[in-house]
Symmetry: D2
Subunit: 338 residues, 4 copies
């Protein structure tokens, strides 16, 4: 870490800061300028709070320098993480992997039809939510485990893998038999107890960026899962909250290449939540892959106008078909296949 003292800081204040740095486990190198003294702390204590230094007397500013995540950093696995699934699908390799399906599993008919359409369009994963606690207590709340069972069947019949959201630790165990990937939603990105548990599970996870989370915070949350020993982890950009209200969120497409640079983990884009309106989804899906995404997570519904949730952002089946055909052409331009 680095502590920059104020111009003409008192020597006793400088000494107090040095003392505290040593206490935390740093070796301190001091640089004394004409006006300003700079203290460089060498070494990597497990955990410390850089903010603590900013309020010490005589301190102008303090910088962490070493990144607070280690396992998630690109250096840890420079060649990139590849996640291999039973049916041969590989995430993080050359292929751009597509995941699609309805926001909620609503019925056997709906999920079967969805699975068929999703498979026909060229996607490899069926998505669909079973637990849907919504922002209004008066809205549809999901089919629960029953929903997962019928989704698994629908996926198997169509050669698809299953990704679905886990909301609580108590759901992990009962979900295990039915799914291939645990999706961790934006609201749970900093539910650290849940992350820690998922670190101990032998099942892939996809971690969504929180609506107000910085890229560094996404990587810190990833670190929680990795530090438990679960390396089959994907990240997903799905829009952040800004002042712009025309779109549901502002999809931070640049987060995709930034994450590809900072981490070895595969990075997905979720244009459905990113923009929230179906007519804009294809543009953002194409943009995400053009920007380097390893895959996409998209909402599609056999009949979006009757969807029980998120209908406005669900693609019609024929839109998904057309989009996937475009993505197939786009992939080679950025050195990928589909």
């Amino acid at each position: 870490m680095i502590v920059a003292m104020q111009d003409a800081a008192a020597e006793e204040h400088i000494q107090s800061v040095i003392e505290r740095m040593v206490e935390l486990g740093f070796a301190v190198h001091r640089t004394t300028g004409a006006a300003q003294t700079i203290l460089a702390g060498v070494g990597t204590p497990q955990a410390f709070d850089v903010a603590e230094f900013t309020v010490l007397p005589g301190v102008q500013d303090a910088y962490r320098i070493s990144s607070p995540y280690k396992l998630a950093g690109r250096n840890f696995r420079p060649e990139g993480t590849k996640i291999k699934f039973a049916n041969g699908v590989v995430v993080g390799g050359e292929e751009v992997v597509l995941m699609a399906g309805p926001c909620s599993v609503e019925s056997k008919e709906q999920i079967n039809l969805s699975a068929k359409q999703v498979a026909e369009s060229g996607c490899k994963f069926l998505r669909g939510g079973a637990f849907k606690p919504r922002s209004s207590p008066y809205s549809f709340q999901g089919m629960g485990i029953e929903g997962l069972k019928i989704m698994r069947e629908a996926a198997d019949k169509n050669g698809l893998l299953v990704i679905t959201e886990v909301m609580e630790i108590s759901q992990i165990e009962p979900m295990l038999p039915y799914i291939d990937v645990f999706q961790i939603g934006a609201r749970n990105m900093q539910n650290f107890n849940l992350l820690r548990e998922l670190g101990h599970v032998r099942k892939a996870c996809l971690l969504k960026r929180g609506i107000a989370a910085t890229i560094e915070e996404v990587l810190l949350s990833a670190e929680y899962i990795l530090s438990g020993g679960n390396y089959d982890l994907m990240l997903c950009e799905r829009g952040i909250r800004t002042f712009e209200t025309y779109t549901r969120n502002t999809m931070d497409v640049s987060a995709i290449p930034v994450l590809k640079k900072l981490t070895h983990l595969p990075v997905f884009g979720d244009p459905s939540h990113g923009v929230g309106k179906r007519d804009l989804v294809p543009a953002l899906a194409l943009a995400s892959v053009a920007a380097g995404a390893d895959g996409l997570l998209m909402e599609m519904h056999p009949n979006p106008d009757k969807a029980m949730s998120d209908g406005a952002q669900s693609l019609f089946p024929e839109q998904l078909n057309k989009l996937n055909a475009q993505l197939k052409q786009l992939a080679p331009i950025v050195g990928r296949t589909l």
Copy 2:
């Protein structure tokens, strides 16, 4: 709800929209202008998603109009909610109620000393965290239930009530014997399962605004708790995330009078998380009460420089004393006591 059709929208599109509105339970009144048709939906269906209309053909925009929360609305209890505690303290009445204590319960000595100082400064509640899942997996994670026991003792010895954060449903039951108020942290503001459970508990709650939550979303989350039958609920502004990085968050002081207008629930300010630096906390504490807060939640530590978490934003005991003396003078100017 209101649907504004595009200029010169086709009659068939207008009819489709009307049909869907009727299907949801609205009575529809149509206004036909020279260029534009406006559809007013009268009635209040339990749950509907206004976004669904924005993607229908011919629609320009759609507005919900009726607020999606009912029990939390000011109209429901125009005189305001008063929460009465065993020792006679009333939240939401004339008195501005102060809550203070360390970020984390660290030891018996620390919490005893904290409680003594908090009580002497004129606060009525002792705060302190027992479960501390932190953004880095390598940081101190809290003392758990053991911490609550010693906090309860420390509070009782000093005539204080106890407020502490609940992170998960499974913690509710074991926490009940030791606490007076369940604090729901910013990260859990939309953990709807947790909110629903807390709605069934006979214990007061304080719900913090999420870092990226709109005021309306805070009220929707409050509705979850109220709809379970628990009306002893306080809200708390604690800073939102913006582009400004000098402060930890941007404390939205205006949310305090806005919430006082929109809801009958008592509204607190948390200047410690709001600004994140102790030298700025008193200014924001004063500002919050000047703006109409029913109380404050503040971090104080007997020795902030050695705090195991959030030291940078914890007040020194003498700062808290001085601040509370100022608050005592300020309260009558805005029609309150302290």
Copy 3:
């Protein structure tokens, strides 16, 4: 416009609102529900402030409904605006038009070399700033009109058109002989006097979105220029300010398809300012075209490490070459040429 009255609003308050609406030129249609009264104002007064209604007694909320821009709206010219330049280049047609060059014109050698490289890479416009008032008063401030002269020569020698930023009304006249497009920077997006003047000029303009401007505000600013009679106008997304600090700004790629839907004006992306780091620029350039951009504005410098401004976000010439080759392949996938 629509005014939603509060539940059980007093009849006198309803009457006051109706009176004020009529005064502004609206015909008012009243819908009386069981609890709530809704007032629909039909007609389109030139200018009114919808906020004025939100503070009237008994009002719950008020909505504008009709869009405040007319000339900029898609309906005004559904087929889209095409801007034709002297050398045959058309913006807003099938072709994706590329503009590149250094942040600042620094010297004859630098701008000549830049122009050569820009032309060779397949771009049609040379960009470069002559007036550079910077956020620090101690930084390089640009070469002024002298810079424009040498940029014009460099462009002509290489068959390029010239785009450069105008900062003040007094610069318009002297700039006219040397340029093809006036660029209006993000900071001037709401400099309405400047916009009004540019509306009277017979020269194309490119209006950049302000760092904190909503899409609607961009269109309102466009309306200023259009209402003066200048229809040769392009818009440009160049990043908005959010809480994320890894990138210089957050490039709102979704604004591109949104603008294409809402307006007939050509829409550009500026990935250089959007992300601020050269290694991320190609990803965002590709994403912008994939999302439907009519063109790109990019910073390139013959020797970025020695650039007098914005070196960090300027591409190396060979990066621009490689990128343009990729863009050429990408264009047909989204129905464009290059």
Copy 4:
């Protein structure tokens, strides 16, 4: 400045960075850790762009350390700046100074009545806009110099000073005879040419924070004016743009104590623009003074419902009276007078 190299950065990359630092005028001190090398640059080159280093090979991150403003920094004048006006009013001293008046000067009657009410309520300055370029080209655009003349007369009759907004360099000269303070609006906070001109004027200025400006950027803009020799400068927080839409902007009350700490310049709050709704203005006015503001700038109108601009956020005269009475009581609690 500090440059932190990546773990195991190549020696040639380290040498390139050192070379570039030396070239800019830094003396470089090198700290070599087990994994990471840190380079501390000592000295203060006039202008350099820290971002340029972040894209050099082998660099992890770069930090400026020394603040980019000098004249605006607290150290430059630790005792604080006091601005003395002809009639004895002092801004930046013990007294909290109140400024109020209509958004726009609309007529002789309106401004005379306003001035009378403003003076009676205890304010020292009359505010009012003469040039009003609005976001819609179809709105009222102000009375111009004629408006200033009648405002000056109205102010003089009531013993008030005059503050009004300057929008362009060409307005400075004609405005000089009629005003006491040039207000620089949020949209012009980074109009550096205008700032430079105002630096050469012998008249006080009040600089408003831009809607998306960081606190550091406000101080950099202040530096422009100070570096021209004009030290009679006040700053003003007036709300920033965030995701919250209930209020017009989010008033960053914490910016007031932060600015008081970082700079010697007087700091004002503008609650009218901060919240945009008159019923919330008094709460934010009180909060601003409680947080340490040296004064307030407020909109008041003799008849807000008929105001030609910003009526929704203009106080009624009796509201201003009541508020000022509260402020008078509040001032001594924070060590001020009124």
